[in-house]
């Protein structure tokens, strides 16, 4: 039995959402949805797992805070001990209020850049990458649902898609 890929095109996001719900309730997986704008709530309807980027952000943030602390300790305390605010204590913990803004900035810098870079790498949006969009019309006014399935369930899925309001159905 060979696998087939179904591309169902819709004119609106509402019928697409409805059809996706019907398909999922029958145990048929929706591989992806292409849309000109973000559809609110589509992730849970087609069963996309929750993003883990928040965990990455936390780790990058901690790293940034640690790097910032290390940098300031090396520069201001260790390598060239500095009299901060007329309080020559030469200990990091005694001068910590002066270091807080920089710690914060380093945290934000690392967390933000780390998240962006992770996102680009994970979805492979690197320079020169080929667009993965199967139909350029989905960047304009069409909505597309991609389903990967077995040859045998083709007619069943097609009837669901048609009754859900699909305007075109293509097989690849």
């Amino acid at each position: 039995m060979s696998n087939i890929v179904i591309h169902a095109i819709y004119d609106d996001e509402e019928p697409l959402m409805g059809t996706a719900k019907t398909l999922r309730s029958q145990g048929i997986k929706v591989k992806d949805v292409f849309s000109p704008f973000p559809i609110h709530g589509i992730d849970s309807v087609i069963g996309v797992p929750r993003t883990r980027i928040a965990i990455c952000a936390f780790i990058y943030g901690i790293t940034g805070a640690a790097l910032g602390t290390l940098m300031m300790w090396y520069m201001m305390i260790h390598d060239w001990p500095t009299d901060i605010g007329g309080k020559p204590s030469f200990a990091y913990y005694m001068n910590v209020p002066a270091f807080i803004p920089i710690t914060f900035e380093c945290t934000v810098l690392c967390a933000a850049h780390g998240m962006v870079i992770t996102h680009f790498l994970r979805s492979w949006l690197v320079p020169g990458a080929k667009a993965k969009n199967p139909d350029p019309r989905t960047t304009d006014d069409k909505f597309m649902m991609v389903i990967e399935t077995k040859e045998a369930s083709k007619s069943n899925i097609e009837s669901i898609l048609r009754s859900g309001g699909a305007s075109e159905i293509h097989y690849k």
């Binding site: 709530g41 928040a54 605010g85 309080k87 209020p97 807080i100 803004p101």
Partner: protein, 414 residues
């Protein structure tokens, strides 16, 4: 269940708390004596009065900032919060009671029943006594502020703040009830305009009121950050109170149309305003710490080294900054009732302690204890606040009926 019933069991608890408060305050006046080294004639039960001031300000601040939050929701035409509108209206309804108590505490100072405010003593202002000899009580710094703290000007401001805040709060509540009967968008737009005016008035008076009533305790010191710092502290207390009441009502089976999406949004407010407070607290601290000018640093010297408040000072900061930051960072924790309940209670206690730290070092100085007077007075005020808020909840249906954004709020999804 759209109508909240204030059960007699809950009512009795609030009465019990109020009785505890009353007994402690009366008992405090009878048992509290001047500590060693303080002239008994100058003492005037400072510890009891300082506690009353802490609680007057803290709880009035909750109601006032609930009114502010309400105005923000109207001015920005916020949709999600419509489902919990009656809850923050109820929290704001303590404002008239809190304003009267605040007024009485200040009046007691003007009548010299207590001396929390040094500058209320007219003897401070005269350079020379009647017989021409130098006045030993003369204070040059206070003399320099005599125009701002002239009794007529001080009382004009005080009455203006309290009356105008209350007028706006009453108007919002009145129109909210009218809207239920009338529907349409006329009231909605009226609220929007009134809210904008209130926010402008509040932007100035939230700062000046905290200078007049709180910062003036440390009369020789001033900070331009103080107004925002105390405003943000009151705001987070108000957000937590709103959250705790929403959770309480949900647990009791009310507010069926409020779900974890609304809870999540209130949780975000708690998280964000905690940061706002930490940011302002730290801005005030760091600049004063860095420049180390004697007339500025005295405020933190009193709170860190002079009177033994250091442990409490840092506890307050970490309780109100690091704890909510770590606990409320993730999405799941902002949608979990139990978690929010625990974090909310800790933040509320933390901000009560913050107000304690604003008042105590300037008034009772080294004579601070955590005794029955502190706890009893706070419980008494808590009882009063709970009584007023529960009564307000029971007075009106918990869900509005005709707000233009009601439908959108019910379908709110984040």
């Amino acid at each position: 269940m759209n109508n909240y019933t204030f059960t007699s069991k809950t009512k009795n608890i609030t009465f019990g708390l109020m009785a505890i408060g009353l007994i402690t305050i009366v008992g405090g006046f009878m048992t509290d004596h001047a500590p060693e080294g303080v002239n008994p004639e100058d003492y005037n039960h400072t510890r009891v009065w300082a506690n009353i001031l802490v609680n007057s300000w803290f709880f009035m601040g909750i109601a006032l900032l609930a009114t502010f939050f309400m105005a923000v929701q109207y001015a920005a035409e916020v949709a999600w919060s419509v489902s919990v509108k009656r809850v923050y209206e109820a929290v704001s309804s303590y404002l008239p009671v809190g304003a009267i108590i605040m007024f009485l505490v200040l009046l007691a100072g003007q009548l010299h029943l207590h001396n929390l405010y040094q500058w209320m003593d007219p003897a401070m202002y005269a350079e020379k006594l009647a017989d021409g000899s130098p006045n030993p009580k003369f204070d040059e710094v206070i003399h320099g502020k005599s125009a701002y703290f002239a009794p007529w000007f001080f009382w004009l401001r005080t009455i203006l703040y309290l009356v105008v805040w209350n007028l706006f709060q009453r108007g919002f509540i009145k129109r909210s009830v009218e809207e239920d009967l009338q529907g349409g968008t006329a009231i909605h737009y009226k609220n929007m305009g009134k809210a904008a005016i209130f926010l402008v008035f509040f932007a100035v008076t939230s700062s000046t009121s905290s200078w007049d009533w709180m910062m003036s305790i440390d009369i020789h010191w001033f900070s331009t950050m103080y107004g925002w710092y105390s405003f943000s502290g009151n705001w987070i207390s108000a957000m937590v109170t709103i959250m705790l009441f929403v959770i309480y009502l949900k647990r009791r089976g009310y507010l069926e149309q409020v779900n974890e999406n609304h809870i999540h949004d209130i949780g975000k407010w708690m998280f964000a305003v905690s940061f706002l407070w930490s940011y302002l607290w730290f801005c005030q601290f760091m600049l004063i710490w860095y420049t180390n000018i004697p007339e500025e640093i005295i405020y933190f010297q009193d709170r860190l080294h002079n009177y033994g408040y250091m442990g409490l000072m840092w506890t307050v900061f970490f309780m109100n900054f690091a704890f909510p930051m770590i606990m409320l960072m993730s999405r799941d924790s902002k949608r979990n009732y139990f978690f929010l309940l625990v974090v909310g209670l800790i933040i509320l206690v933390g901000h009560w302690l913050d107000v304690y730290m604003m008042v105590m070092p300037g008034t009772v100085k080294g004579n601070h204890h955590f005794g029955l007077i502190e706890i009893g007075t706070a419980l008494g005020f808590l009882g009063l606040v709970l009584f007023v808020i529960h009564s307000a909840l029971a007075k009106r249906p918990l869900m509005v009926k005709q707000h233009p954004y009601l439908e959108e709020s019910i379908h709110h999804h984040v």
